[in-house]
Amino acid sequence: MTSAEPVIQTTRAPRVRRTRRSRIRIALKKAPLSAWFGMGVILCYAVVALFAPLIAPYRETQVFSEAFAPWSHEFAFGTDQLGRDMLTRLIYGARNTIGIAFITTILSFAAGVTLGLLAAMYRGWLDQLLSRAVDVLMSIPSLIFALMLLSIFGSSITSLILVIALLDSTRVFRLARAVGLNVVVMEYVEVAQLRGEGPAWILRKEILPNILLPLIAEFGLRFCFVFLTIAALSFLGVGIQPPSADWGSMVRENATLITYGDVTPLLPAGAIALLTVAVNFVVDWFLHSTSGLRDEN
């Protein structure tokens, strides 16, 4: 009110705020080539997975007379051991494998983040209980544990998703708890407690937005691991069951061709590798640009 010049100085209009879109554009402009490559590959995979029935030349389980047919005009990558078109199986495999991996990752994050943040917020016995339970789960090699659980509950798609989500959520729990601990000690969380806010509000509005970036980066990595686990389980025969196409079992079923110098079984393996590398490229870029590290020159 009466205070003259200095007040005007502090309350002067701030610089124009960037819209979300322009911030994203700036970030994209600075993205390295590897990130562009990764995003391109992921986009291709997503399109193939979403529009599989439109892209694939044949139906998923359509069987032709000739098994192990060589590459030709009719069958671009030949046929498999039952005489199904390899290209079609590859395209549908993208849909099954990626779809299941995605759902599993989301589930493991929902469970891991919620429990991790609760542990960080309440500490005490809840934290002890959850953390020790997670320690127990993590002390058993996850692939062996998954094999055991799947042989108990049977390898339906639902149990596959639930078992992998449970095993994977232990890693997410640890991360969420660790980054959550840094945020719960901030004064704005104390302000919310003093205001009388409930735990759900504090978790969702005060803590979660501030740990979203590391969680998103972790999501990419976890997705890769889940994807690899599913492929590995399918290769071992307890994953996605026939006749659904998926890349892991395609590698196993056609593995004999390798002995005859045919590269066909390497195609699904290559598809798995390419997606993993692409996701990692994007995650690397994301982690680097959000870590706040400045390149020193």
Binding site: M1, P6, P14, M186, Y188
Partner: protein, 551 residues
């Protein structure tokens, strides 16, 4: 080695000449000027004080005087002539040989610069040994000599301690010893006492001034505290927006500043509110004792009265229990024994037992708005939440109230969609005030709310708080370690020391004629804007024998 270099250090020849210095910093995808064309020169044995608000470029200039720019900064133009050679055009290897041997640096928070895994002595002599200036044994003996001169307790053995085993003030002096180990020609002090308590600050200032004079070292002293720079500097340079406002000898600068901006800086600490008698008390704390989970008692038998519509200042050094008392009042740390009554009703000790309305009536504002505001919430979300939560305001009613609150804190509605990261420190603190006001509180606890701000901004925030109290009749508990702030805002003063109340009374009484010895020590340690203050104080304390050699 010493005799020859001391002779070469005759006072009066030019040591450092900075011409047309330009430094840029990188942010928001482009380079911004931080320092734009600063010239100054420094003679041997001379101390130059650099003062200004944060963002004025004073620390950047201090570093540039060593030929260094922080990551994300670059020196774009100008020259830094040190003893006749340009630091900017020489190779990095040559510059590195000069740094630590002829130019040294003392940073603000020594705790962050010491390696916790090595003993003080090893770190003190490290550069001297590395530069081949002294042998290990010589350097160790010299370090002990320096510890003695810097008045560190037990100088023979303190070097064998680790950084966490000494106090902050001692660590700051150890860092000065580290800088002195090579007897540099120039030392850059970057706010060396800002993080210290006033009583500790006096000792560190006295030690620094003594060694600088003894060794005839030239120094650049960067600070935002005018009273401190008045004690240390021969000349003062005032900076603003990376440019020199004016430069003159300390005495002339203090008595007759030529520029308007300098005069505003000088006037800041003169704000004083006449105290007003209180009618009744809104908060009464009786015999409260509190401890943290470890069982260490932080408050013992504390009784305080807070008058309605007035301000009680809680004064004390760090560790005196001021902030713990705030946590007890808010219920975050339930008191172990004792009672608190609020508005003549007993106040439940624990947060969980208090009703929503009771929570609404006591609000809190924190020292650092950076951590008190959620970086992911816009100004509107921050202010709207208490309105919705406590008062159930919605839609147009809510928006109108937000507008009123923004008006109260002297900001306009164009700020509503900003995130905290897009505001200045003073603006962020205003938002915190608005958030507290949104609840229509009767008591606001202000925990060092101005300590993290520049002096001019501090004054604005204090004026704002005083005005709001006058208009809304809200009571404040004002926690601070700064006596100038107390003078500006308080009606009553409570002095705390080691978890106990030393004294409580009206402001003028406590500030002019304190009864307790501790209050007197605290008050006399506050630097005055008088270049002879430190000399006078040290002489006086020596006579009284209060400043023992151990510090």
């Amino acid at each position: 080695m010493k005799t020859s270099s001391v002779i070469a250090r005759e006072r009066g020849t030019d040591l450092l000449t900075v011409r047309d210095l330009h430094v840029e910093g990188f942010s928001d995808e482009r380079w911004h000027p931080i320092v734009r064309g600063v010239d100054f020169s420094l003679k041997r044995g001379e101390v130059l004080g650099l003062i200004g608000e944060s963002g004025a470029g004073k620390s950047t200039i201090g570093l540039a005087a060593m030929g260094y720019a922080k990551p994300g900064c670059r020196i774009t133009r100008g020259s830094v002539l040190f003893d006749g050679v340009d630091l900017l055009s020489m190779s990095e290897a040559r510059r590195r040989r000069l740094r630590g041997s002829r130019i040294a640096y003392v940073a603000q928070s020594a705790a962050a610069w010491f390696n916790p895994a090595h003993r003080l002595l090893d770190q003190t002599v490290e550069t001297a040994v590395a530069h081949g200036i002294a042998s290990r044994g010589e350097a160790n003996r010299d370090a002990v000599e320096l510890y003695k001169r810097l008045q560190l307790p037990q100088p023979e053995t303190i070097g064998f301690r680790y950084p966490h085993q000494v106090s902050g003030g001692q660590l700051q002096r150890a860092m000065t010893a580290m800088a002195m180990a090579c007897r540099p020609d120039l030392i850059v002090f970057d706010e060396p006492t800002t993080a210290l308590d006033v009583t500790t600050q006096v000792e560190v200032l006295a030690s620094i001034r003594r060694v600088v004079e003894d060794f005839n070292t030239a120094a650049i002293y960067v600070t935002h505290d005018l009273a401190v720079v008045a004690q240390m500097a021969d000349r003062i340079m005032v900076l603003r927006h990376g440019q020199t406002v004016e430069e003159a000898g300390t005495r002339q600068m203090l008595t007759a500043p030529a520029q308007e901006y300098t005069r505003t800086l000088w006037a800041v600490r003169k704000l004083a509110k006449p105290e007003i008698e209180a009618r009744d008390h809104i908060l009464t704390i009786d015999n409260v004792t509190a401890a943290y989970a470890g069982g260490v008692k932080v408050l013992s038998d504390v009784s305080i009265r807070v008058p309605r519509g007035r301000t009680v200042a809680l004064v004390g050094e760090s560790g005196s229990g001021k902030s713990t008392l705030a946590r007890v009042v808010t219920g975050l740390l339930p008191a172990m024994s004792g009672s608190i009554s609020f508005d003549a009703q007993p106040l439940p000790l624990s947060l969980k037992q208090r009703s929503k309305d009771l929570l609404r009536r006591i609000q809190m504002i924190y020292q650092s708005p950076d951590s008190a505001l959620n970086p992911r919430q816009t100004v509107e979300e921050v202010i709207a939440r208490p309105l919705e939560f406590y008062l159930g305001l919605k839609g147009e009613q809510r928006d109108r109230r937000i507008g009123e609150l923004m008006h109260m804190i002297e900001m306009d509605e164009s700020f509503l969609d900003r995130l905290p990261g897009e505001l200045s420190g003073g603006q962020k603190q205003r938002i915190c005030i608005a958030r507290a006001l949104a609840a229509n509180p009767e008591l606001i606890i202000c925990d060092e709310v101005t300590s993290a701000l520049d002096q001019i901004v501090q004054e604005e925030i204090l004026k704002l708080l005083i005005r709001l109290q006058r208009e809304l009749g809200v009571s404040y508990i004002f926690i601070t370690h700064d006596i100038a702030t107390v003078r500006a805002i308080a009606d009553e003063v409570v002095v705390m020391h080691q978890g106990k109340v030393v004294e409580q009374g009206p402001k003028t009484e406590i500030l002019t004629s304190p009864h307790a010895a501790y209050t007197e020590l605290l008050l006399s340690s506050v630097p005055a804007m008088d270049p002879d203050w430190l000399t006078g104080l040290l002489a006086k304390r020596k006579r009284q024998g209060t400043l023992d050699a151990a510090g």
